[in-house]
C-alpha cells in the first residue's frame, strides 16, 4: 500500500499545484477556497456512501442499479421523519427505507433470478413514483407546503479538529491556524492550507461517520469471516456453497447493506447537505456513486478518491461559475500534458487530435466570459463520463457479478 499511497500523494499535490497556478492566472479564488473544499467534501459523502453501497452489493455478486432509487427513498424518509423527530432519527429512517428498497431488489434478483439491471431500473422507477405518491398525500393533509418538498429539518451539529481547524470541545474554542494560513493567499501554501481546512473543519458529525465507514468497509470485507464469505459469493459462489457458505444469505446481506448505505446517503442529502427533502434532490448521484465504484476498481480507497473527484465537480457547479470557467483552463493544461506524452510515444495522429481539442478549449475559454447556467449544471455528469471513458479498461469485476445464482449450480 505504501508505494501506491506515495504515488497518490504526488498526484494530489500536482493537482493542487495546477489549481494554484490557474487561480493566480484567472483570479478565480474560489477554485481552492475553504468553502469549495468544504462543499466538495460535503457532496462527496453521498456519492461515497452510494459507492460503498455498490461495493457491498457487487462484491456479493449482485449488480445494483437501483442505488438511485434507494437514495431517493432515503432522502425522502429523512425529510419526512426528520421534520417531526429530529435529524438523527431522520437519518436512521433513511437507512431503514433504503434497506426496504434493497429488500425488494434482493427478492427479485436473488430469490427469483430476475436480471439485475432490469430489477434495479424497475426499483428506481418505482421508488420515484412511490415517494411522489405518498408526498402528495402528505401535501393534501396539510402537513407539507408543497407536493415535492418537505418541511425543514433541524440541523446536526458540526465540529473541527483541534488547533488547526477551529474545533470546539467541551466549551473550549480552539485556534483556527489553517484558516489563518489560507487567508494569506500565498501561492500554493495557502491553497494547500485552504483545502486541508475545508476537509477538517466545520465537519458535520455525520460526515465524520461517513468517512469512517470507508476504512470500516475495508476491514469488514477483507479482514473478517463475514467479508470473506460475502466476497466469495461474488467471486465463486459454487465453490463457496461447496464449503458450506450460505450463498443466498451472503447475497441478501450484501444487497441489504447496500440499501442501507444508499439510504444513509440520501438522508444525508436531505438533512445535512440541504435541510429538507426536495423532489429530484438526488439528481443521479446514485449512478455517480456507481461510477465512483468502477473508478475505484471495487475497492474502498478507490471509491473515496472517485467520490472526492466527483464531489469536487459537483461542488464547483453549485458555487461559482467563474470557477467552472477557470476549470476549462485546467482541461487545456491536462490536454497539453497528454499531447506531450503522445508525442514522446510517437503517436502523432493522436497528439494532433488532442492538440486540436486543446486549442478549441482554449479558444472557448477566451471567447466566453461566463458559462451559461444550464451548461454548468452538466459538470458532474460530463466529469463522470470522462472519468469512465478513461478508467473503464482496467476494471477487475468480481467474477460472478451480475450472474443469477441458483443452489446446486443450475441455470
Amino acid at each position: 500500500m505504501n508505494v501506491k499511497s506515495l504515488k497518490t500523494l504526488r498526484y494530489a499535490l500536482l493537482l493542487v499545484l495546477t489549481l494554484s497556478i490557474i487561480r493566480v492566472l484567472t483570479g478565480a479564488t474560489d477554485l481552492t477556497s475553504v468553502g469549495t473544499a468544504s462543499a466538495a467534501l460535503l457532496l462527496s459523502v453521498p456519492i461515497a456512501l452510494a459507492g460503498l453501497g455498490g461495493l457491498f452489493s457487487e462484491r456479493s455478486g449482485v449488480v445494483n442499479i437501483g442505488l438511485e432509487g434507494m437514495m431517493i427513498m432515503g432522502a425522502w424518509a429523512g425529510g419526512m421523519i426528520g421534520t417531526d423527530h429530529g435529524p438523527w432519527i431522520g437519518l436512521l429512517a433513511g437507512v431503514c427505507f433504503g434497506t426496504v428498497g434493497a429488500l425488494l431488489h434482493a427478492i427479485a434478483t436473488i430469490t427469483f433470478g430476475v436480471d439485475h439491471v432490469v430489477s434495479g431500473v424497475a426499483i428506481t422507477i418505482i421508488a420515484a413514483g412511490l415517494v411522489r405518491y405518498i408526498s402528495t398525500i402528505f401535501y393534501k393533509s396539510g402537513a407539507w407546503l408543497g407536493p415535492s418538498q418537505s418541511p425543514d429539518v433541524a440541523s446536526i451539529g458540526t465540529n473541527g479538529i483541534p488547533v488547526l481547524s477551529g474545533g470546539h470541545y467541551f466549551g473550549w474554542q480552539s485556534p483556527d491556524l489553517l484558516s489563518d494560513l489560507a487567508k494569506k493567499q500565498w501561492f500554493f501554501i495557502s491553497d494547500v492550507a485552504a483545502i486541508l481546512r475545508g476537509l477538517t473543519g466545520d465537519l458535520s458529525y455525520v460526515t465524520m461517520i461517513a468517512v469512517a465507514l470507508v476504512p470500516l468497509s475495508f476491514f469488514i470485507l477483507w479482514k473478517t469471516s463475514f467479508g470473506l464469505r460475502l466476497r466469495s459469493a461474488g467471486e465463486a459462489p459454487t465453490a463457496a456453497e461447496s464449503l458450506g457458505v450460505n450463498v443466498y444469505k451472503m447475497k441478501y446481506a450484501g444487497v441489504l447493506i447496500s440499501g442501507g448505505l444508499a439510504g444513509l446517503g440520501g438522508g444525508f442529502l436531505a438533512i445535512v447537505a440541504a435541510n429538507h427533502y426536495q423532489e429530484n434532490q438526488v439528481a443521479g448521484r446514485g449512478y455517480i456513486g456507481l461510477a465512483a465504484l468502477l473508478f475505484g476498481n471495487y475497492r474502498p480507497g478507490g471509491i473515496l478518491m472517485g467520490a472526492g473527484l466527483f464531489g469536487f465537480a459537483d461542488a464547483l457547479q453549485l458555487r461559482d461559475s467563474a470557477s467552472i470557467h477557470a476549470l476549462i483552463l485546467l482541461i487545456v493544461l491536462i490536454l497539453v500534458f497528454l499531447v506531450i506524452r503522445d508525442l514522446r510515444k510517437g503517436k502523432l495522429l493522436k497528439a494532433a487530435l488532442t492538440l486540436t481539442f486543446a486549442a478549441l478549449s482554449l479558444w472557448y475559454y477566451l471567447a466566453v466570459d461566463e458559462l451559461p447556467g444550464q451548461l454548468v449544471t452538466m459538470t458532474p455528469y460530463i466529469t463522470t463520463l470522462l472519468v469512465m471513458a478513461v478508467a473503464s479498461q482496467r476494471l477487475r469485476m468480481p467474477a460472478a457479478d451480475g450472474i443469477p445464482y441458483r443452489r446446486g449450480g443450475m441455470r
Binding site: 476491514f219 479482514k223 473478517t224 469471516s225 470473506l228 464469505r229 466476497r231 466469495s232 467471486e235 465463486a236 459454487t238 465453490a239 463457496a240 456453497e241 461447496s242 464449503l243 458450506g244 457458505v245 477487475r396 468480481p398 467474477a399 446446486g408 441455470r411
Partner: protein
C-alpha cells in the same frame, strides 16, 4: 457401495451414468429420494455440505471450485475461518496450512493468487481444502481428467500417502487402467444403479468396460490412408504476441494439412491450443499467414472464413455454440445465418430451417422431442451430436474439432467418432485437439505436440503410446 478405511475405492461408469449425482448426495449438495448413508456405522442425513464436512467427508471436485481472485490461503479457509476477536486470524491459518502441506507433500505458496496457478497446483489446493477440514473420507471426482501422465503419478503417490494414514478414498473415473492401477475395490454404475462390486485384482479393464456399458466400448480409430494431395490448410510462421510483451501465446507455428487427413494437436491445456484455434477461425489477430485451399485468409472475417468452408466444434458447447434458452431450430441458424437453407435472401426461412433441423436430428440420432425443444433440455451428448450435425451440413472442407467428445456419454462418443471417420474418408481435413490421449492417438494421422506456444514434436500415432505422448506434452522427453 461400502468403503473401508485405508483403501481406495473406485466408482466407474460412463458419462451420464449417475456417478456425479451419487457424489453430490454424499457431499450434501443434493438430497436422495430414498435409501440411507452410514458413516462409521451411524446413519447420517446431509442437508448441506456443512453436514458432510462435519461427518469428515471431503470432496475434491473435477471442475475446481476455486475463486481465482482469492489467495490460496483464502480459498482454503473459506467457510472455516479461524478467528481472533472480530477478525480472521491469518497468522494461525497460514501456519496450519504450511504445516499440513509439508506433511502430505503438497507444497504450495499460501499467499499467491489462484489465478496464477497451473492445473496440477490448483488440484493441490483442492486437496488441501479438504484436509484442512479434517476429512477422513476423501472423494475424488475424475481427478486425472486434466493431468498428464507425470502429474497423474504425483497424484497417485499422494493418494498412497493418504491411504497409509488410514483415510478412506473414493475415486470416480472412467479411465479404467488408472482405476485398476490405484484402486483396491471397484463399484460399477450403469444407468443410475450399481451393477457390480468387485476387487480390482479380480477384473480386467475390458471386463469393467463391458459392465459399464453393457456392451463393447467404442474405440477411437481410423482405417487406412485417406490423405489426398491437395493441401487444405497451411500455416506459415503464425504467432500471436501477448499485450504485455512477454512470451508469445503461440510462436512461429507452421504446418500443412491435406484433405482427408486428421492432424491431432496434443498438449497440456493452456499451452496455446485454444489460441491456435482462434487464429485459424479468425477470432484473434495473428502475424504470419494462414491459407485455405491455397488462398490466403488472413484478412477475412470470422463469418467469411466460416462461409468458405471451415467448420468448428468448440470445446465448451454451452458457451461457444449454443443459445441455451432457444429452440433447436433457432440454434440451427447459428453460424449459418448467411446462406441457404436457413436464409432466403435477407429473410429467415423458418419452415426450411425447421425441416432441416429435423433432418439433422434424424441423421445424427439427436434424442429430443423435436426441433422446438429448447437446447438446455438436451443432454450433453445430444447437444454435441446436434452441433456436429449442424457443422457437417455444409460439408466443410476443414473441420476444427476442439475436445469434441468431452463430457459426452459413450454412445454419443462412438457416434461422433464414426462421423469424423466418415468425413475423413470423404476428404475433409480435420484439426483435432483433445486431452483424451487415446482419442488423439486413435483418430489422428499425424500428431503435433504443443508446449508453451510452440510445436515441439511431430509424432506418428501408430508408433506412440499414451505415456510417450504424455512425456512429450510436458517436455520431459
Amino acid at each position: 457401495m461400502s468403503v473401508q478405511a485405508g483403501t481406495v475405492h473406485a466408482l466407474v461408469g460412463e458419462n451420464g451414468a449417475g456417478k456425479s449425482t451419487v457424489m453430490k448426495i454424499l457431499y450434501g449438495m443434493q438430497r436422495p429420494d430414498s435409501g440411507e448413508i452410514l458413516v462409521n456405522g451411524t446413519a447420517v442425513h446431509f442437508k448441506n455440505p456443512n453436514d458432510a464436512i462435519a461427518a469428515s467427508i471431503g470432496m475434491v471436485h473435477q471442475h475446481f471450485m476455486l475463486a481465482d481472485n482469492f489467495t490460496v490461503l483464502e480459498n482454503i479457509i473459506l467457510g472455516s475461518e479461524p478467528k481472533k476477536g472480530m477478525s480472521i486470524d491469518f497468522v494461525a491459518a497460514r501456519a496450519k496450512v504450511v504445516a499440513m502441506a509439508e506433511q502430505y507433500g503438497l507444497e504450495i505458496d499460501p499467499d499467491i493468487l489462484v489465478e496464477e496457478l497451473g492445473v496440477g497446483q490448483r488440484q493441490r489446493v483442492e486437496i488441501l481444502k479438504v484436509l484442512y477440514r479434517g476429512a477422513r473420507i476423501l472423494i475424488f471426482d475424475e481427478p486425472t481428467a486434466v493431468l498428464v501422465p507425470q502429474e497423474v503419478d504425483d497424484l497417485f503417490s499422494a493418494l498412497e500417502g493418504l491411504r497409509a494414514q488410514g483415510m478412506a478414498i473414493i475415486f470416480i473415473s472412467h479411465k479404467l487402467d488408472e482405476v485398476l492401477r490405484v484402486a483396491d475395490d471397484v463399484t460399477v454404475v450403469r444407468a443410475g444403479s450399481t451393477v457390480a462390486e468387485v476387487k480390482s485384482k479380480d477384473v480386467t479393464a475390458r471386463q469393467l468396460a463391458e459392465l459399464m456399458v453393457g456392451s463393447e466400448l467404442p474405440q477411437p480409430s481410423t482405417h487406412g490412408v485417406t490423405r489426398r494431395d491437395q493441401i487444405t490448410l497451411a500455416l506459415n510462421d503464425v504467432s500471436i504476441p501477448t499485450s504485455t510483451g512477454s512470451r508469445d501465446l503461440i510462436s512461429h507455428i507452421s504446418f500443412d494439412l491435406h484433405a482427408g487427413e486428421v492432424v491431432g494437436i496434443a498438449g497440456v491445456e493452456g499451452n496455446g491450443q485454444a489460441e491456435l484455434v482462434e487464429a485459424i477461425l479468425g477470432l484473434r489477430d495473428y502475424t504470419g499467414s494462414i491459407s485455405f485451399n491455397n488462398a490466403s485468409i488472413d484478412h477475412m472475417s470470422v463469418a467469411h472464413r466460416h462461409d468458405l468452408g471451415i467448420g468448428f466444434i468448440p470445446e465448451d458447447r454451452q458457451r461457444q455454440a449454443l443459445m441455451m434458452d432457444s429452440p433447436l431450430w433457432e440454434n440451427r441458424i447459428l453460424g449459418h445465418q448467411r446462406s441457404a437453407p436457413v436464409m432466403r435472401g435477407f429473410i429467415l426461412d423458418k419452415k426450411a430451417t425447421i425441416a432441416d433441423t429435423a433432418r439433422i436430428m434424424e441423421e445424427f440420432d439427436v434424442r429430443a422431442p423435436g426441433p422446438q425443444t429448447l437446447a438446455t433440455a438436451l443432454s450433453g451428448g445430444n447437444q454435441q451430436k446436434f452441433i456436429v450435425g449442424r457443422e457437417m451440413s455444409k460439408a466443410p472442407a476443414l473441420l476444427v474439432a476442439s475436445h469434441p467428445t468431452r463430457g459426452v456419454d459413450v454412445g454419443a462418443q462412438g457416434a461422433i467418432w464414426e462421423e469424423l471417420r466418415r468425413a475423413r474418408e470423404n476428404g475433409m481435413a480435420i484439426v483435432l485437439i483433445s486431452a483424451d490421449l487415446e482419442e488423439l492417438i486413435g483418430m489422428s494421422d499425424r500428431l503435433l505436440v504443443m508446449l508453451r506456444g510452440v510445436i515441439t514434436a511431430e509424432l506418428d500415432p501408430a508408433k506412440t503410446t499414451p505415456e510417450q505422448l504424455g512425456s512429450a506434452m510436458t517436455g520431459a522427453a
